[in-house]
């Protein structure tokens, strides 16, 4: 029972199958309860229903991109305002600029610049859950 309260829920929103799978595997191994979504729209619904402890969010996705999902979630509820969101990015300069615009004054915002290493992503998740 005690263990259950410690189990953290993570929502992974990523359109790339392989990357979604491996992130899912990694966080399952780390003892997370993993929720997945393949675009921003599904991610938004899942987030509202399941209220994860942390959201890993890709930026470039079909249907609804990460930036739109993030701003919609922030407007949706008090919980939505506070849930930590980690943006994953290749950091091509255009998205960089958009991120800057969105993330200003957002205390629950994190950015994994170097999503190149899985380890960095995992570290960031732990950091924002502390």
């Amino acid at each position: 029972m005690e263990e259950n309260t410690q189990t953290k829920k993570i929502l992974i929103v990523e359109d790339e199958n392989d990357q979604r799978d491996i992130l899912s595997d990694e966080f399952k191994d780390q003892g997370f309860e993993v929720l997945i979504a393949e675009n921003g729209k599904k991610g938004l619904n899942s987030a509202k229903e399941q209220r994860p402890d942390v959201i890993l969010l890709d930026i470039v996705m079909p249907v609804m991109d990460g930036i739109s999902m993030m701003s919609k979630l922030r407007e949706s509820s008090t919980w939505g305002k506070k849930v930590p969101i980690i943006l994953l990015t290749n950091l091509t300069s255009d998205s960089d600029r958009v991120i800057k615009a969105v993330s200003e004054n957002d205390p629950a915002y994190y950015l994994v610049k170097s999503d190149w290493n899985l380890e960095n992503v995992v570290d960031k998740v732990h950091e924002c859950l502390q």
Binding site: E16, D18, Q19, I22, L23, D25, E26, V60, N90, L91, T92, S93, D94, D96, K113, S114, D115, W116, N117, L118, E119
Partner: protein, 503 residues
């Protein structure tokens, strides 16, 4: 008109350019043609006026001779009269020939040359006559010529009549009254004809003079119009090319953005899987582990290459952004050094740091600074042997400081990376910052490298008003120096930012 425009817009780029160039060429040819044509007519007009001069001079001389003959009955004067009168008579042959539909150029040439015209003027005179003989001033001039020829004929006849009278007696004193009266009347006629001819001769020159003045005016106007059309076309061409270049530029940056994203995604997956595999596959053999780390290294290398290409293409598009922020350059340098930890350990390299202080805050664009220091360190690490030494130094340099063979001309931040590697051969020194440059002795060693790093570094340094140079001794090592202003980098707006490597 609208359809033509649509047709033009539907042409491929090459077709449009070719079309504009063709228009250019046509106008150019027309311009040259008009110029040649104008000059030709001018020259022919001049030749006609010149011919008229000779014509009237001969006519004057003939008048003088025939009058003297009438006075003296000296046969020599009559012979001269004949000789002079031939000139107008012979040019009449040319005129008559030119009037014919199928004229004989030889006859025209012979008679004009006999009339004193330079042979080289004949073709343009012929053209002027044939093309413009029926219009305007040229027609008037030819009418005058025609009238002149008729008068000359009369003139000649009066001459022969005088001759007949002169033949009938031995000397002027033998003339009877009737003969004297006849002779006087003839002399009177000759004088009248001379007056009339002189008038016609003046008119002829005046008309041709007027013609060439009008021609000159029209020629100038024509030239100006052609020149305006040409410049208009040129302007169109330039605008068009500029638009194309802008579009191509946009397409290129779009392509680079997409390509980099598409390349990066599978590379990231590969990297993540290898990472997971490393962690999970505990039972993997040593060889398996070795292969795994090779996969890892190669995918890292590939990712860096993608970033290099991305950055280089952005640099080449020009005007990348510089966003300076107060940052600790020493801290950044240490972080970048950290990226090379594994290679430094593997090669047992000895790293010497020589920093101004523990921290040094300057307004710099972190990305750009990272790219510079990363590439310089990467080269140093790659091209040194095991147990070699690399020195990284970041210091403030005062004006007048001597750095190897250079003297610093104003206070700056001096960054240097020295290695004890292969060194750069003298004959390659000028090419070091060229794109895709790879030193021959580095290639021999088969060390990996794209030849993009230093090119990128140089482009960045140029943009931030810094300087970069190097000192190298073969087989002893190389030091790269970079300076930038102590006040840091200036902010610059740009369409693109450069990306430092995701480590």
């Amino acid at each position: 008109m609208f359809k033509l425009k649509e047709k033009f817009l539907n042409l491929p780029i090459e077709g449009k350019i070719n079309l504009i160039l063709a228009a250019f060429l046509i106008v150019m040819i027309l311009l040259i043609g008009a110029f040649w044509f104008g000059m030709d007519i001018m020259s022919a007009t001049r030749a006609f006026v010149g011919g008229e001069g000779l014509w009237s001079k001969a006519q004057k001389n003939a008048t003088v001779e025939i009058l003297q003959y009438a006075d003296t009955f000296d046969q020599r004067h009559y012979d001269s009269f004949h000789e002079f009168i031939t000139v107008p008579l012979i040019s009449k042959i040319a005129r008559l020939e030119l009037e014919k539909e199928n004229y004989n150029p030889e006859i025209v040439e012979k008679s004009l040359v006999a009339g004193g015209t330079n042979i080289e003027d004949v073709p343009s005179m012929t053209r002027l006559y044939r093309w413009f003989g029926d219009i305007g001033l040229m027609k008037e001039a030819i009418n005058i010529w025609n009238k002149g020829d008729m008068l000359i004929r009369e003139f000649q006849m009066k001459g022969s009549q005088i001759h007949t009278i002169a033949q009938s007696v031995d000397s002027p004193s033998d003339l009877n009254q009737q003969q004297t009266a006849e002779l006087n009347s003839l002399i009177n006629d000759i004088n009248n004809l001379n007056t009339e001819l002189t008038k016609l001769e003046d008119e002829f020159s005046q008309i041709l003079g007027e013609g060439s003045r009008i021609l000159k005016q029209r020629l100038i106007i024509g030239m100006i119009i052609f020149a305006l059309i040409l410049s208009g076309l040129f302007l169109l061409f330039v605008i068009y090319i500029r638009n194309i270049v802008a579009k191509v530029d946009e397409a290129k940056s779009e392509f680079v953005y997409l390509a980099s994203h598409q390349l990066k995604t599978p590379l990231t997956s590969i990297n993540w899987y290898t990472e997971r595999l490393k962690k999970k596959a505990k039972n993997l053999s040593d060889q398996g582990k070795k292969y795994l780390s090779k996969i890892n290294r190669n995918s890292n290398r590939m990712a860096r290459l993608v970033y290099d290409l991305l950055n280089v293409s952005r640099v080449e598009m020009g005007g990348f952004a510089v966003n300076p922020k107060e940052s600790d350059v020493i801290k950044i340098a240490n972080e970048v050094l950290e990226d090379f930890k594994n290679e430094i350990e593997n090669k047992k390299l000895n790293i010497e740091k020589d920093f101004e202080s523990d921290s040094l805050n300057i307004k710099i664009d972190r990305n750009l600074f990272e790219l510079v220091i990363y590439n310089l360190l990467s080269n140093a690490v790659q091209y040194t042997e095991e147990d070699d030494k690399i020195k990284l130094s970041i210091k403030k340099a005062k004006e007048g400081t001597k750095v190897d063979s250079r003297i610093i001309d104003s206070e700056c931040i001096l960054l240097s990376v020295s290695d004890t590697g292969l060194g750069i051969p003298k004959d390659e020194e000028n090419d070091v910052f060229q794109k895709f440059f790879r030193s021959k002795n580095a290639e021999k060693k088969n060390t990996t490298g794209s030849g993009l790093g230093l090119y990128l570094v140089k482009s960045i340094i140029d943009q931030i008003k810094g300087e970069i140079w190097f000192e190298s001794k073969l087989n002893e090592g190389t030091t790269f120096y970079v300076t930038f202003p102590t006040e840091g980098m200036e902010k610059q707006e740009g369409r693109k930012e450069l990306t430092s490597y995701n480590k």
